[in-house]
């Protein structure tokens, strides 16, 4: 099954790229200072920063990854949103933004320097810089691979062209350009995926029809089967889900990752900064319908045929006709797959088999849906949305990197007293070499097929303890720099050790765990192992930070004003209409969240 984009599809894509670049060009002349370039001069209204906050996070991991998880695990995947994101977004908006924005820190590591000390900042800055650049590279690799597989486009060309486009608009227009393009990308993704979900649901007979076709009750309930790992496809139980995903991992990401926090820092006022994650929470709650449902549908529908539409099921003959038609010319074979999800194939094109079962290429679930339901015209739009999701991730990583490099690493350690124009120049230079390193990372990822897993792991090791550090830093004035630093190191080490001595059932020691030689415990699934790694890492960091802080001298209260809860004035929201107040927004979001969870119980 290989789609053939027509001129109309290429036109749509071309028009999109023109606008993306155009925005960068127009914004160039507004980039006069480093504050303009890295922080948009702190002048962006809340609705824009809110959508950018969401969109910067909305990389390929969302659109492709959630589709894949939906196909594998069913509606439980919604936990990544409804448990694993929204509460953290509410928390960061209401309680942490006052410190991020109020401290006038220009980056997350800089907050750490103001609150703790230089070495804590350095640890965070360097680990973040490295990870964000590699993450961008892995995104590029995933996109190149997908476009090559799906459309036969040249891998190298896809990588170079996308890197150049992102380079052009972030180089010229800095963070503002990235933010504006992220908002554009948000609308593109929503507008691109609504018809997909609509058509897919119509084809299977709505939610009820989908439930009937899937046939597995555990795939269509989000909480009911969390009593024990063996009852659900994800292999987790409610405690590790709530603590591991819902608390540690999600708060660790949304509250401390500079990529998203940067967008809130660009807001035009404290209230806007606080409202940013809350505004983002609204569409975020509805995204499961756009990205998870198509994945679930992919597993239970059949391929398009030349002979009439296929709502009930395709006669076997017609389906194999399509497959054999396309196989000689290349393209994706669905034989051995499930629904329209193809199997993973080895170099010769034969399906991979593990434990007697065909290994499915779940990452292709959503792209195959696009190809299946979109005629030329809309196909161009869908491909645009797909590429937009990759590119918004790349641009987000790039702007976060160039800020952390310039302010925290370069200005922090290499050249502390240069002029603002010099730092602006450095920011642009960092954009170039950051993307160059990302491109290199994309090729490295191509060599080692485990790289994505490794990156995920490293993120978990580093992010999980980080939230403990911030929590203590912002809400406990007794926390000291030595405590924070030791806590971070200890937490990361604990994560690595935990991963090294445990293994998911059915995996071999290596990237999946057990690399320290001894396997002390076997988890029912990889997810379970991840969640518990996060829990251990966070707890270790929390404990060590407290212990070491109590043994070292804290800074005097005067130095911590505005950085710690007890020493900061509560933000006042008196001048806003009632529906604009952050607290009210938070209550509405929480209510909708509870309703959604209840509906899909």
């Amino acid at each position: 099954m290989r789609p053939h984009p027509h001129w109309i599809d290429y036109s749509v894509i071309g028009i999109y790229f023109t606008f993306v670049l155009g925005i960068g060009f127009v914004l160039k002349k507004y980039m006069k200072t480093s504050a303009d370039f890295f922080l948009s001069g702190r002048s962006i209204p809340a609705w824009i920063t809110g959508l950018a906050f969401l969109s910067a996070n909305l990389g390929a991991q969302e659109v492709i990854g959630m589709g894949a998880s939906g196909a594998k695990y069913g509606i439980m995947t919604s936990h990544f949103y409804w448990v694993g994101a929204i509460p953290a977004m509410i928390f960061v908006g209401l309680f942490m933004m006052p410190f991020y924005y109020g401290s006038r820190a220009r980056s997350v590591p800089e907050y750490l320097k103001l609150r703790f000390d230089e070495k804590t900042r350095g640890l965070n800055a360097i680990s973040f810089a490295v990870m964000t650049v590699f993450s961008s590279g892995v995104s590029m690799y995933a996109m190149g691979k997908l476009l090559q597989l799906l459309l036969g486009w040249n891998f190298n060309a896809a990588i170079i062209v996308s890197a150049l486009i992102v380079l052009a608009y972030t180089f010229l227009g800095g963070l503002t350009s990235a933010i504006y393009n992220e908002v554009l990308q948000f609308f593109l993704i929503v507008i691109g995926f609504i018809p997909l979900t609509f058509l897919g649901l119509k084809d299977v007979g709505g939610w009820e029809g989908l439930k009937a076709r899937i046939g597995n009750d555990a795939m269509v309930h989000s909480w009911k089967y969390l009593g024990s790992p063996s009852a659900n496809p994800m292999g987790v139980e409610w405690f590790s889900m709530l603590m591991g995903l819902g608390f540690v991992l999600s708060f660790g990401y949304w509250c401390t990752d500079f990529l998203v926090v940067q967008r809130a820092m660009a807001a035009d006022s404290m209230t806007s900064a606080r409202r940013t994650p809350l505004i983002a929470a609204f569409p975020k709650m509805l995204f499961p319908f756009l990205v998870i449902l198509p994945g679930m549908i992919a597993g239970v529908v059949s391929a398009a045929t030349m002979s009439g539409h296929t709502s009930g099921g395709v006669p076997a003959k017609a389906e194999s006709e399509v497959v054999s038609q396309s196989a000689p010319g290349g393209g994706i074979s669905l034989e051995g797959g499930k629904g329209i999800i193809p199997p993973k194939v080895d170099e010769s094109g034969k399906p991979l088999v593990k434990d007697g079962q065909v290994v499915l290429d779940y990452d292709l679930a959503t792209p195959m849906m696009l190809v299946r339901y979109f005629p030329s015209g809309l196909l161009g739009l869908g491909l645009c949305a797909l590429m937009a999701s990759f590119m918004s991730g790349m641009a987000g990583n790039t702007t976060a990197f160039n800020s952390v490099w310039t302010y925290d690493i370069y200005q922090g350690y290499i050249n502390k007293t240069a002029s603002d124009q010099h730092y602006l120049w450095m920011g642009r230079a960092a954009t170039v070499f950051g993307l160059a390193v990302s491109v290199a990372a994309a090729y490295v990822a191509r060599q080692f097929n485990n790289i994505m897993d490794v990156l995920q792991l490293v993120f978990a090791f580093v992010n999980a303890p980080l939230f403990a550090t911030f929590l203590l830093g912002m809400f406990w004035k007794r926390a000291t720099g030595h405590g924070a630093f030791c806590g971070l190191l200890g937490g990361t080490a604990a994560a690595a050790v935990h991963h090294g001595i445990t293994l998911p059932i059915g995996s071999v020691p290596g990237v999946k765990g057990g690399f320290l030689g001894v396997v002390v415990h076997q988890y029912p699934s990889e997810m379970a192992q991840n969640f518990w790694t996060a829990i251990f890492a966070w707890t270790t960091c929390f404990t060590i930070t407290i212990l070491v802080s109590l043994l070292t001298t804290p800074r005097p209260d005067g130095e911590l004003k505005g950085l710690v809860y007890a020493l900061t004035d509560r933000p006042k929201d008196v001048d806003l209409a009632w529906y604009q107040k952050p607290a009210v927004l938070a209550v509405v979001v929480l209510t909708v969240l509870v309703v959604l969870n209840w509906i899909f119980w």
Binding site: D268, S269, T271, R372
Partner: protein
């Protein structure tokens, strides 16, 4: 900072709407709709939706430029004259 972001959004989706919608109208009887989108001419319909969305955005831009901006009374140390 800079220009109203609803301008490029409005423009792009209006262009998409016209382009895809016209293509849909021109390919009204194509079998591709039967093969892919359950017999529905999604190009035409969704093109229309995009045009309405894009047009709506442009209207908001027009309204924003005309109306005087009521300033927020919140802390605005580094405010630029951005149209909301």
């Amino acid at each position: 900072m800079g220009f109203d972001i609803r301008l490029p959004i409005g423009m792009m989706f209006s262009v998409f709407g016209v382009l895809v919608g016209a293509y849909g109208a021109a390919t009204q009887d194509s079998e591709m709709y039967v093969r892919h989108s359950l017999g529905i001419n999604v190009n035409l319909w969704w093109g229309l939706v995009m045009l309405i969305f894009g047009g709506g955005m442009l209207l908001l831009v027009r309204r924003g430029a005309v109306a005087t901006r009521a300033s927020d009374k919140t802390d605005k140390t580094l405010r630029s004259p951005i149209v909301k």
